[in-house]
């Protein structure tokens, strides 16, 4: 069975500072990993995905993530955050039967 663990429920950060949101996964099969973002009162939106190939993947809005097989991690990073990045971020793993399993989310709170 596949699962993901998001280690931080909330991450406060000042605007223009770098940020890392942590995600660890567990999977017994080939790993497909994703980050989704949920802005207040909206649905989820795909931020980036890792299917195969380069372990560093770039997504929308300047975010990137690195797949690390030895550490079973897929941490999300951004070198300089903006107020508009305030949102809930969900790590997800593709499981069997074409389903996604989401983590519990990390709330990124960007302040001035």
């Amino acid at each position: 069975a596949q699962s993901v663990t998001q280690l931080d429920s909330q991450v406060p950060v000042f605007e223009e500072a770098p940020v890392e949101l942590r995600c660890n996964y567990s999977s017994s099969v080939s790993v497909y990993l994703f980050w989704y973002v949920q802005y207040p009162n909206q649905g989820l939106q795909l931020l980036l995905k890792y299917l195969s190939g380069s372990t560093l993947v770039k997504g929308i809005n300047g975010f990137e993530a690195e797949f690390n097989k030895s550490q079973t991690s897929f941490h999300l990073r951004k070198p300089s955050v903006h107020i508009s990045d305030t949102a809930e971020y969900f790590c997800a793993v593709a499981g069997t039967a074409s389903k996604l399993t989401f983590g519990t989310g990390t709330r990124l709170q960007v302040t001035l």
């Binding site: 909206q42 649905g43 939106q45 969900f90 593709a94 983590g103």
Partner: protein, 113 residues
């Protein structure tokens, strides 16, 4: 713009009174999903359709039913809502071969009084 639409955005129902939530899409995707998301929790898959093939999650209560009359529309019926069913309900769509790239609607927030 192609999109996933959910109506209503906010729904209040009484304990035990049946309620239906609707989802429509203009993406022409063949897969549609219903998720339940409670506060500060991960979205939980209730069921999904591949075209008209219905796939129920093993732990989805019988109180939750779904209908997909055509490609564009999908409904979530809660036959007898309990206080524990208060949540955000998210509809999503995808193309079967890229199921991981799901397009979400804005959700319906259900309150049970």
């Amino acid at each position: 713009d192609a999109m996933v639409i959910q109506n209503p955005r906010y729904q209040v129902t009484q304990f035990g009174k049946p309620v239906t939530l609707s989802c429509s899409q203009t993406l022409n995707h063949n897969v549609m999903y219903w998720y339940q998301q409670k506060s500060s929790q991960a979205p939980k898959l209730l069921f999904h359709y591949y075209d008209k093939d219905f796939n129920n999650e093993a732990d989805t209560p019988d109180n939750f039913q779904s209908r997909r009359p055509n490609t564009s529309f999908c409904f979530l019926d809660i036959r007898s809502p309990g206080l524990g069913d208060a949540a955000m309900y998210l509809c999503a769509t995808s193309v079967r071969d890229s199921f991981y790239e799901q397009y979400f609607g804005p959700g319906t927030r259900l309150t049970v009084t």
